[in-house]
Structures are given as structure tokens and as C-alpha cells.
């Protein structure tokens, strides 16, 4: 049925969970948004600072499970310095990776994020992995809305 647990909780994930990168608040973000997964109580706030269509700074705060914390942490690392168009492409690819069924494709652009491919096998956990991304998306759009992945 389910694959080995170690494929879901890879070392990289456990590491990002224990020592999340870019955790904290940005003083003067150009955008921020709050995301919430009511099913498990996860909460994440993403702060972003963009300039000339490029991500200069991005951080997050909140309490969540290992999957959502690691996803948020790796997300901030991956997108820093990227153009918004690149961020958009990565988001799409990430989403495709964690929801696709059938053949596992290669995702060279995702870097470390590829370790999250394992959530595909855990339907109720997919939302944990995508919550930070949806929240990022809202922060970029500067929407004042609260994101919910219910």
C-alpha cells in the first residue's frame, strides 16, 4: 500500500523541519499572506519582498507539521532571487509533482524540493505540502485574503 515511511520523511525534510530556513518576519514586506489548513490546524504566514519583478527576500512564520514546515523552508530557499515568472513556473511544477498520478517524472528545476514527491502517496498530506505555496501566491498578489486549503 503505502511506500516506506522514510521516503516520505526523508532526511532533508526532517532537517528542514528541525532547522527551518528563513523563518521570521520581514520588516517591510511588499506583500504577505496568512494560510490555514483547518483540517490539521496548520498556520503559515509568508512575507515577501519583491523588486523589479524579482524576489529579494522571502520568509515564513507559523506552526505546522513537518511536511508543511519543510515545504515552506525549502520554498523560501528555492525562490529567493528568482523572477516572479520563474516562481510561477516552479509553483506549477511543484503542484504537478505532488498531485500527479502514474509515472514519476523528473523535476530538475525543483532541486531539494523534489524530496517532497513522496506526499503523492499520502492524499491527506498533499495539502500540508502545498499550503505554503498557496500562501506565497496570495502574498505575491498582495491579496488581503486568508488562504485555506480545506
Amino acid at each position: 500500500m503505502s511506500m516506506d515511511l522514510r521516503e516520505l520523511y526523508q532526511e532533508v525534510i526532517l532537517d528542514h523541519n528541525k532547522r527551518p530556513r528563513n523563518r521570521g518576519k520581514l520588516e517591510e514586506p511588499t506583500g504577505s499572506a496568512e494560510g490555514h489548513n483547518p483540517l490539521c490546524g496548520d498556520n503559515v504566514t509568508v512575507y515577501i519582498h519583491t523588486h523589479d519583478g524579482r524576489v529579494e527576500e522571502v520568509t515564513f512564520e507559523g506552526s505546522g507539521c513537518a511536511i508543511s514546515t519543510a515545504s515552506a523552508s525549502m520554498m523560501t530557499e528555492t525562490i529567493k532571487g528568482k523572477t516572479l515568472a520563474e516562481v510561477d513556473a516552479i509553483f506549477r511544477e511543484f503542484q504537478q509533482m505532488v498531485t500527479a498520478t502514474g509515472e514519476v517524472a523528473e523535476h530538475p528545476d525543483l532541486g531539494d524540493l523534489e524530496v517532497l514527491a513522496g506526499v503523492r502517496e499520502y492524499p491527506v498530506r498533499i495539502k500540508c505540502a502545498t499550503l505554503p505555496w498557496h500562501t506565497l501566491h496570495a502574498a505575491i498578489l498582495g491579496e488581503a485574503v486568508k488562504v485555506s486549503t480545506e
Binding site: 520523511y9 490539521c40 490546524g41 496548520d42
Partner: protein, 430 residues
């Protein structure tokens, strides 16, 4: 009932009554500790459904034909069994609904909307399930009444002093959970009801988690309304019970309109049927209600078996069954509490003195959701989340907990596997 203290349920035999318990998950024998969400069903209940659809299925109440009479009779008998289950004074006080949530909404919209005025107060405890909060918030919005919170202590008990102070002549309704689904706390509802009655308030007791584990006596409690969630009581999904005192139910307007709840209908106006039909609009969940009857029979069978008294009356058999069940479930709970409290970095949520089969906890190293996934991998089914108790989670200062909830078919070995699971989580995330 002291005779029973020395006799114990034959758990090995009981487990054979519940076919799903033989499931393998990921190669491991299923450890089902999510009974607070829904219970498993014995053969007797499962077979009652097929038997009904193979041999008795018909619409009830209005039919002159053979099948309809069979189905009606089975349905009516289930109501009488439920009356004994609750020790209600009359079977007319037993209303079948679509679920516990539907029962509470019925009372809020029928009794509440009729009786609440602006400024009137509804008291609900911090540990209520959303099902016993939202219906009252909705009717408060409609009537101008105010919802106030009965606080709890750090142990997860009702703050009885604060409750006493909150009660006033403005209090019209008190909603209180009998056994908390998140903490296991058994609330002193009898005493709380007596206090509420002194200021003229009526009390709705949410018995969703009491029904499966304790003997209920609505007359001894003097409860005005008492609700049950039958799928948590070894019965099929889609059935709830509302008990209400006859004098209250009689004075209440209908909640839903439709077939069977009417006396006469015309475009100039309609009149309504007597109890319990006034509150049972439309075709009910006939098979489900008959399944509830089978679940009550199953429990009675356990009681008769315990006392080796096959002819014992239903009421006495249920007394015996629940004495056996609660003794055994307390043992499992105490054992689990002890083992979990010995593990570093585990915090138990809910340490009330009076407590029933809930082992809820958080771990320093891992989020409840991760605990749930690791457990699932080993075949252990628990629930991770807010358990439909967001205000309680806020009070406890946690986003969520991991909750194992016990039924009488669980074993000491299963608690041990739960503890092994916790140790594995520590190893992985610690």
C-alpha cells in the same frame, strides 16, 4: 450490580464480533483507536442491514401491506429499545434524527427560536464540540440572544465556580457535553442541570461520547434534552437520537415539514401530528434505526453474557453491560495514561479526575499530523487535529492534538503498540 465486579468481558470473543478488526494495514494488524470519530460495528448490526433489505424493506407508517407492517413494527420496537437505553419516561420522548448534529440543530431552531429573546443567554463550555456551538451561534444571531462561555480548568474540568457565577435569570439554555471527545472528561452534568434549573434554564446534554461507554439515565440526570450519535454507538451511519421531556417537546413548533409529521394539510393551513412524529418529517433512515435497535441488542447481549442471565430484561442487561464496559475501558485508559506519561517529551491533554477512554497528547518533537502518519504506517488508527473543538485547542494553546480513543474491543497489547509508535516518532523526529 456488584456481582459483576469480578466478572470481565471476554475481549477475545468480542473482537470476533467485529469483522473489521481483522484488517491488515500495510502488513500490520489494524489497531483501531479512532472510536471517538466513529465506532466499528458488530456482525449483529451489519447483518441487520442486509436482513432488512432482503426481507423487510418497505416504507413505514402508511402501508397496509405485509412488508410495510414488518418494517413499521421493527422501527417501532427500535424506539422502545432506545427508550430503555436512555431510561426515558415514554417512547414518545425519543425522536430519531439524521445524527447528533441534526438533533442539536433541531433543539436550537425549534426550542431556541421560540424561547430566546434579545439579551437572553446561552451558556456553553469551552470544551464543546462545534456541533454544540455553531447551532447556538446561529440561533443567537437570529434572536439577539448571547452565547457565553463556561470556562475550564487546566486539567480540563468545568470551572464549576465560574459556572455558578455565570448562571442568572438571563440564562435560558445551557449546552454541556457529557463526556468530552477531546479530553475524556466526564462532566458533572447531574449537578450542573440542577443548578441550571434553579435559575429556570433548560439544559441540553451532548451525549455523543457518553452513549457508547456509559449507562445513561435521562430521568436521574433530569436532562431536558439529551442527544446521541448512533454511528459512535456501534450502530449504522445516518442516525441520531433526540430525547426531550414531553412537556417541552409538546410545546415546540415543528422543525422540518413534510410527510408523516402532519395531521391535515391544506393550502389554507396545516396541523401537525403528535409526538414523536411531529419531529420526524419525511421518510426516516428506517434501516439505520433498525440497526440501532440491533446495536442495543448487542450491548444487552454482552450484559446477559456477563451475568449468565440470558432472560434478563433489557434495562438490567444494559446496566450490566455498561458496568463491564466502563470498568474495562477505565483500566485500559489508566494503563495508557501511565505508559504515555513515562515518556519524555509527551504531554497528555486532559487529566480530569473523572475521565473516560480518551488518550490525547502532544509531543515536543513532532506535530500531531506527523504522529498520525507514522502511526498509520504501522496500522495504528488515531485522529490528529482539533477534533472539532477549536475553542478548546485555543484554550489549551495547541493547534492540534493526537488522540487515541478507546472502545471495549481494544486490548492492552494495542495500547502497547500505541506506546511503541510514540517511541518510534521520538526516534524519527527527536
Amino acid at each position: 450490580m456488584n456481582a459483576i465486579a469480578h466478572r470481565t468481558l471476554n475481549i477475545e470473543a468480542i473482537r470476533k464480533d467485529f469483522p473489521i478488526l481483522a484488517t491488515l494495514v500495510n502488513g500490520y494488524p489494524l489497531v483501531y483507536l479512532d472510536n471517538g470519530a466513529t465506532s466499528q460495528k458488530p456482525h449483529l448490526v451489519i447483518d441487520s442491514q442486509s436482513e432488512y433489505y432482503r426481507q423487510q424493506n418497505a416504507n413505514i407508517h402508511r402501508g397496509v401491506h405485509y412488508l410495510s407492517q414488518l418494517a413499521t413494527q421493527k422501527y417501532d420496537v427500535a424506539r422502545e429499545k432506545t427508550q430503555v437505553f436512555l431510561n426515558a419516561a415514554s417512547s414518545h420522548e425519543v425522536i430519531f434524527t439524521a445524527g447528533c448534529t441534526a438533533s442539536i440543530n433541531l433543539v436550537a431552531q425549534s426550542y431556541g427560536r421560540q424561547n430566546l429573546k434579545p439579551g437572553d443567554e446561552i451558556l456553553l463550555s469551552t470544551m464543546e464540540h462545534h456541533s454544540n456551538i455553531i447551532p447556538w451561534q446561529l440561533v443567537a444571531q437570529q434572536t439577539g440572544a448571547i452565547v457565553r462561555q463556561i470556562p475550564i480548568t487546566d486539567q480540563g474540568e468545568i470551572d464549576l465556580e465560574a459556572y455558578g457565577q455565570l448562571l442568572s435569570e438571563r440564562t435560558k439554555i445551557v449546552g454541556i457535553v457529557h463526556v468530552s471527545n477531546s479530553l475524556g472528561t466526564i462532566n458533572p452534568v447531574q449537578r450542573m442541570i440542577a443548578q441550571a434549573h434553579q435559575v429556570g434554564a433548560v439544559v441540553l446534554v451532548d451525549g455523543a461520547q457518553a452513549g457508547p461507554h456509559t449507562r445513561i439515565d435521562v430521568q436521574a440526570l433530569d436532562a431536558d434534552f439529551y442527544v446521541l450519535s448512533c454511528h459512535k454507538m456501534y450502530a449504522p451511519t445516518g442516525v441520531g437520537v433526540l430525547y426531550g421531556k414531553e412537556v417541552l417537546l409538546r410545546a415546540m413548533p415543528p422543525y422540518q415539514g413534510g410527510g408523516d409529521m402532519i395531521h391535515t394539510v391544506s393550502f389554507d393551513g396545516s396541523t401537525y401530528a403528535d409526538l414523536p412524529y411531529k419531529f420526524e418529517a419525511g421518510t426516516p433512515n428506517i434501516a439505520g434505526v433498525i440497526g440501532l435497535g440491533a446495536a442495543i441488542d448487542y450491548l444487552a447481549g454482552l450484559g446477559r453474557g456477563l451475568l449468565q442471565a440470558p432472560d434478563m430484561s433489557l434495562g438490567l442487561a444494559l446496566d450490566a453491560a455498561f458496568e463491564g464496559i466502563s470498568n474495562y475501558e477505565s483500566e485500559l485508559t489508566s494503563y495508557g495514561m501511565k505508559r504515555l506519561s513515562e515518556i519524555d517529551g509527551v504531554r497528555i491533554t486532559g487529566t480530569a479526575k473523572e475521565k473516560a477512554g480518551i488518550l490525547a497528547f502532544t509531543m515536543d518533537c513532532a506535530h500531531p499530523h506527523d504522529i498520525g502518519t507514522v502511526f498509520d504506517h504501522k496500522g495504528i488508527a488515531i485522529r490528529a487535529g482539533h477534533h472539532c473543538c477549536m475553542p478548546l485547542m485555543k484554550r489549551l494553546g495547541v493547534p492540534a492534538t493526537a488522540r487515541a480513543s478507546i472502545a471495549f474491543y481494544n486490548t492492552v497489547e494495542e495500547i502497547d503498540r500505541l506506546v511503541d509508535g510514540v517511541l518510534m516518532v521520538k526516534e524519527m523526529f527527536g
